[in-house]
Symmetry: C2
Subunit: 212 residues, 2 copies
Amino acid sequence: MDAEPKNTGGKIEPWGDITPDAARRLVNAAVHAFAERGYHATTTRDIAGRAGMSPAALYIHYKTKEELLYQISKVGHERALKIVERARDSEGTPAERLADAVRSFVRWHAEHHMTARVVQYELGALAEEHHAEVIAVRKATDGAVRSIIEDGVKAGAFDVPDVRGATVAVLSLCIDVARWFNAQGRSTPDEVGDLYAGLVLRMVGAGGQDRP
Amino acid sequence: MDAEPKNTGGKIEPWGDITPDAARRLVNAAVHAFAERGYHATTTRDIAGRAGMSPAALYIHYKTKEELLYQISKVGHERALKIVERARDSEGTPAERLADAVRSFVRWHAEHHMTARVVQYELGALAEEHHAEVIAVRKATDGAVRSIIEDGVKAGAFDVPDVRGATVAVLSLCIDVARWFNAQGRSTPDEVGDLYAGLVLRMVGAGGQDRP
DNA sequence: ACGGAGGGTGAGCAAGCGCTTAGAGGTGCC
DNA sequence: GGCACCTCTAAGCGCTTGCTCACCCTCCGT
């Protein structure tokens, strides 16, 4: 019904800060189309149609279809990185910081699962230089999670024989939420975040102490 | 009894039982192309070229491009299901059966990560009836894993407050191996399988399976 | 009142897409 | 040899794709 994003707080619609209005509508349309059908299966006519304009109007705001994907992928990756960096730099024990990182990272992937699906699973369609740029952000995300786990191992709070492998597993588990999460499903983003935080603490051998 | 494909040569080829030779070459070419670029980004000319024949030759063995994907997706899903069903029906404690399921499931996804990537991430491109068929196999896989976890909970060997959620998480973790695994990486399929079996046992609270 | 600017449109182009067709070559059976 | 059969190719058809272009609106400072 109401396809217009109200954008008072920017909480529900993650692209509320884009101007002009038509450009924001295009990004929202592209996110939904890319998430549902994939980048290569969606046409510029489909994106423009969802945004309520003619195919040619797309090119007033974006040079190519790939530039739309790049905008979504870049901003999305930076938001995801900030989430784990904030958890890494916060006060608290390694277990608290890891649980915080997983909880908020997963919550973001569930709440914005359309955006996250494009961010995490369509980056292969990016042009080479854009792809390299995004890969650098992903490596930073991996490094942030790994440093939390390393802190826990050094402090004797975690039991992790293979830190690299555990980091890959934890991130993989969280990222994949974007693939299977369904807004009409039985779990809310908060519930999945809490569940996953507990599962990850067990994976790193930090369970049993601070949990009743 | 041997569910594994015939291994005529020294190398493990997951599609060795397809005849004639040209059809097998087409499936192999399609698997590599779909895995690298995605279904919608690969052309029939690309597939035929990789198989060493002209574009028209594809249509002697397969009616459409989608039928190729369907063949790959269907057979792949059935193989993955058989792996977890065998573990579910084997003798042993729930912890041993869950570890077995995860180890062999993950090993398959790593060893055949090209095929598995197509199987797990390109099913959205299937025609509706083929998609429904494949979804049914996925539900069976989910049910098999869940029944192992339920057995463990009933036996008091696992500590899992949310069986459905844990099942989704375990399967998601294992499936996503196909996305990130790289044959040139530092881990072998066996190593990843062992690592993941241990991680999953911790996730379900069966960490002390060695000690009573 | 009016000219310029920028957001928007209908029509359409060149290229590439999935797929088809007419026919060539090899092989085995009578 | 004659014929049917199977595999494969060169050429190309009809259509869709990403993208462009000439032109039309509305708004706005002077």
